[in-house]
Symmetry: C2
Subunit: 386 residues, 2 copies
């Protein structure tokens, strides 16, 4: 096990009816800017619930944070906050809204050009406005971590940042808030949480059996609950709750503490989203099976363990078991309604070089747990994903 | 899944050499009282390391916190802190030292008789001095939670308390600090963490698959690592690290979030420690197998799941599989060198009534996840544990 720090101060308020707890969770004297995506938070009544819980607190709403939230949109919110003097932010939505809120919270007090926050991955963040989150879309884990990703469309760039200053003060996780989600967003959430877990687990053995078991537990749970979520005629509370808590735990720092991490699938996926506007989770479903196959030698021991513990694969040669583990992963994504080939999204070999060029321009030339996934390897992965 | 709050702000600094991080973790202007148990922290050099990391900060040491820390000892520290004006506490030791430090931290600013903190289970705690911990004995999980247990020997009472004010600010977890522990203390640590996990898991199914998998992952890990820890001729870093992290995660609020909990084994065990001075972990090893057998009807579904997932029991009738799961639990404790019968500790049937009377006097008349473990049931459990 590697040395590590684990410090996650976000207060999780989980369960039915917990939006009402905003009355206690938000400071009584706060002037609150609520941040939302499209119209759904208003339409579903969640915003009305939020406003009611805020009671006498001064508040306003900033709407229009898009999926893969944009730098320009975020800066509009920053300007509004600076000019109107809001001192507490409340993200109501999924990972995109929460990621944007993190960036905005850091950008408001930032001296200099907030764009440099993204150029430096957040290392230059010195402070941030306090903020909380009401999660409506379980997937990214942003509600209980200190990272985010912001897209700059004019540059085709999707850049991550991280800072201890941007943990949400609290996150309200009410599984009933997922009841109005389209089934495709549930499927995206399952796959996103699954790949987050894989990127912190499927590397090389590092004598960290607790982290392994926790990661495997999340993967097993997602494999069990995923198809049930898709098949259910009516929302089942416990399954929604399971997805919501699993997605949070998949990326709150716990399972990745003290172990090697990969994230190459994410970095290649980010470029696919930035260039071709494919949903984040779908880019992961495209890249991961190809990546695991490409890295089957380096990841051999963990692929065997993954096959046995997550998929119950016990027969066949080692090579056959590894192939079966990767094939099961692909089949799982496909069963979740998420195609795993670039051709399924209308893309062919002509896109590969552009993605590789973007990886190069973003410095993504040494990816993976061994930092040996260079541009040639990424190219092979993309070609295998056609 | 039940509604829950999860909020654990303790900063974990894990790994070799992390005691040096006290230089950053303790506020620069703090006047520090270091609290320790016996002479071992001094003898092993840990205290010297701690003092060196504290640098120029004013500090003093309070020694003599005993296993099952006593109210009177804690109050001596409270008086010293009040008269000498320490404003930061640093526990260096195991669960006893950290539990005592929590109580002391709450008692120093407490208005009125601190004894009432224990009578009210901590609900009347309004504030506490800030404190951190350097863990030397992995077992209780106190380093990352907000609870403790204090013993009042003149009353034969061992009383728990809990408050959001008594989370450690940080905990330094250096697995090499366990290298000097006697093997019996390692075994106690394994069993303590195991039973903490069981008390939050082995109840009834509550549609919380992530919590189940995490709990099972901790149990599987302890079953794997426990015998290796005992057999090793020289300390193995990764196994010590695994025990340390597993014991912390067994009682930091995570696996118990949103699920029913039992704690009857602990409550009965506390009385055995208070009356007969048996190590905490050993009382758990005595009570748990008898309790599981007594509650085999109420816990039927989870006992079957536990047998299959933790012990790999798949054959036999359901009753046989349940009996095998309980027997495996007892055998595991015995293999860890911890006897599981009251007679092994020189106690016979004559002690049962006194333990039951103490349970009654402490209000422990409705224990367990169904609150239906009354004094008659507790008596049967004790008789079965003879």
């Amino acid at each position: 096990m590697f040395n590590f720090d684990f410090h996650n101060p976000t207060h999780i308020a989980f369960g039915k009816g917990r939006v009402a707890d905003l009355a206690k969770l938000v400071p009584a004297s706060a002037k609150v800017l609520i941040l939302v995506g499209g119209a759904s938070a208003e339409k579903t009544g969640t915003l009305a619930e939020v406003r009611s819980a805020l009671g006498e607190r001064a508040h306003s709403t900033f709407a229009g944070i898009e999926p893969n939230p944009g730098f320009d949109t975020a800066m509009q919110a920053v300007n509004q906050i600076r000019s109107e003097g809001f001192d507490f932010l409340l993200a109501v939505g999924g990972g995109s809204v929460i990621d944007a809120t993190k960036f905005i919270a850091a950008a408001v007090p930032f001296e200099g050009d907030p764009w440099t926050i993204l150029l430096k991955g957040g290392r230059n963040i010195q402070s941030a406005l306090p903020f909380g989150a009401v999660l409506t879309l379980p997937a990214t884990g942003s509600e209980m971590n200190n990272g985010g990703v912001i897209t700059r469309r004019d540059m085709g760039a999707k850049l991550p940042f991280r800072s201890s200053h941007v943990f949400p003060r609290f996150a309200v996780l009410d599984p009933t808030k997922t009841y109005t989600l389209p089934v495709q967003q549930l499927a995206n959430g399952v796959v996103d949480a699954f790949v987050h877990t894989v990127e912190q687990y499927l590397t090389y053995p590092s004598h960290a059996p607790v982290q392994d078991r926790f990661a495997e537990g999340l993967l097993q749970t997602l494999v069990e609950v995923g198809p049930r979520l898709l098949d259910a005629k009516e929302p089942v509370y416990d399954d929604r709750a399971t997805l919501m808590w699993a997605a949070t735990l998949a990326l709150n720092g716990l399972i990745g503490a003290g172990v090697p991490q990969d994230w190459s699938t994410h970095m290649i996926g980010h470029e696919l989203t930035a260039l071709h506007n494919i949903d984040h989770a779908r880019t992961l479903a495209i890249v991961l099976p190809a990546m695991l196959h490409e890295r089957r030698v380096q990841k051999r021991d963990k692929l065997l363990q993954y096959g046995q513990r997550v998929w119950g694969i016990r027969s066949g040669t080692e090579d056959e078991r590894i192939a079966a583990a990767i094939e099961n992963t692909r089949t799982f994504f496909e069963h979740m309604g998420i195609p795993t080939r670039l051709r399924d999204y209308g893309l062919d070999a002509s896109v590969v070089s552009a993605v590789v060029a973007q990886l190069e321009s973003h410095g993504m030339t040494q990816l993976g747990e061994h930092r040996d996934i260079d541009l040639a390897v990424s190219r092979r992965v993309l070609e295998a994903a056609l």
